[in-house]
Amino acid sequence: MQDEIDFDQILSQYRSDPFEYIEVRTSHTGRLQFKAKEEDAVDGVTGEWQHIKGTLLFHLERERNVKPVHSTVIGVVSSVEHSLDGQFVEAGEKVMTIRHPLKKREIIDRILKNVLTLFPAPERAKYFFALDIQSRIDKHGQRSISIKPGDEILTMSLMKRDTPVTYQGEPGIIHSVYFSPGETMDQGQPLIGICSEDKLPLIQKIIARVKAEWE
């Protein structure tokens, strides 16, 4: 975790370019056919259960099985790899970029993600806190919960199979929670952000500074 934060530099960076550039890649091999073009505005996933798909970006066809790929974020298509249109592409190929405008909350989250120790989801599944951690959170709040490597902090639930998830990382307190019970988290997405207790004032300073200076 960084001790020194150059707030001015970080904030001016976000002021000059308040966007995140999201690279859209193919999930598997197949023949690609674009359905969105540069400067198209795209919607992300919406709906009460996050069930309404975003704007259709492209079709990926493998063995006559056409998979529609939708945008997961709101934004504007900033670039498209036109040379790939109609071509057979490999898995993981970058096919377009979406420029996503960042809100204040997202900027705070992104800065914090650089300074917190992030604990990622080991598999695509639903997660909930281990029972004793949840009861401590209910009683005292998440920021009073100290965890250390080897602690069973979460339960991963996938196809009605519950797997305890053991924390590996720096000891500290649970500062940020990036999942909600019942929400499916993709593999690698951060579940929680941890900071050591002595770094807590620094984190609070970041939040206060962004809140005060960002319009």
Partner: protein
């Protein structure tokens, strides 16, 4: 927690016979492939422990694993612990599980060697094995997603699957707890309309050792099938199960009455129902696809449903 050796021997003998007959019940599978599948599933029942009573088989399995690791011994994958009755049976979310004499209460412990996308299907495999066991006795059992087994809409078998990481070796163990209401017919008042037993529906009792052996053989088959499909896909150059039709999913569809039903979904549906929808299919990863009233589709990989 006295061990009943005679009962264990009886189950082992019946199990060998059930295993032998398993390929004969599946005429669409060639004898060569059936032999391969059963070889993969052969670890099921590698050791069988039978107890007259236990608090909870899952907890016992955990303690057996820990004891093995403490002594630097390998745990036998496929070890089965069976108890005639449980004094502290629990289901998901620590719901009480009534487990008196007459039922089949067991845990199967496997060392997980499957890739994650295939290991995700352990729960379905266990549900299919239970349902096939009941159908073997000509009971019209069906599966409700994920793996509840029902007779005429009432739950006759429940499965609880948990993972445990060995503290010393770091091995991942899959604990599949299975409860089947076989000859037990009395239920707590709050369960009378929702629980059922085999004996109630058949009007006769069943030889418990034989039912146990039959279930173990079905588990050996379906878990063996998981390994066989994984090996086939890896040999074909793909570990993914997205596009290739999975025979286990086909089995599940043929045994389930979920597809086409209107359901209420929730991660813990009894305490926190989330939405109502129509179940339209399961995908190759066992995820349930549902259509909401606004026409949109949701795909869930964990949670519970109740039929409406």
């Amino acid at each position: 927690m006295a061990e009943s050796i005679s009962e264990r021997l009886l189950i082992s003998t019946e199990y060998q016979q059930a295993l032998y007959s398993e390929p004969l019940l599946r005429p669409t599978v060639s004898p060569e492939i059936a032999a391969v599948i059963l070889r993969y599933g052969a670890m099921v029942g590698a050791e069988i422990e039978h107890l007259s009573q236990a608090p909870r088989c899952m907890d016992l399995a955990r303690s057996r694993i820990l004891a093995c690791e403490e002594e630097n011994r390998s745990f036998a994958s496929g070890r089965v612990i069976i108890a005639d009755q449980l004094t502290n049976g629990k289901g998901r979310f620590l719901r009480h599980w009534h487990a008196p004499v007459g039922g089949l209460w067991m845990v199967l412990t496997l060392v997980n060697t499957l890739l994650p996308e295939h290991a995700a299907l352990y729960s379905l495999a266990a549900g299919i094995a239970c349902c096939e066991t009941l159908r073997h006795y000509r009971l019209n059992a069906t599966i409700k997603w994920v793996n509840d087994v029902l007779l005429n809409g009432r739950k006759v078998a429940g499965i609880l699957t948990e993972t445990m990481r060995g503290p010393k070796g770091g091995e991942e163990y899959i604990l599949i707890g299975i409860g089947v209401n076989v000859n037990n017919a009395s239920f707590a008042p709050e369960l009378r309309n929702t629980a059922a037993s085999m004996t109630e529906f058949a009007g006769r009792t069943f030889p418990l050792a034989e039912v146990t052996a039959r279930l173990l053989a079905k588990l050996a088959w379906n878990i063996g099938l998981l390994h066989h499909v994984e090996a086939e896909q890896l040999a074909a150059g793909s570990g993914q199960s997205d596009d290739t039709p999975h025979p286990l999913i086909a089995s599940w569809r043929s045994l389930s009455d979920t597809i086409g039903r209107r359901v209420r979904f929730g991660f813990n549906v009894a305490e926190a129902p989330q939405f109502s929808a129509k179940a339209i299919d399961i995908d190759n990863r066992g995820q349930l696809l549902m259509r909401l009233d606004d026409g949109q589709t949701v795909c869930e990989n964990s949670g519970e449903i109740v039929y409406l």
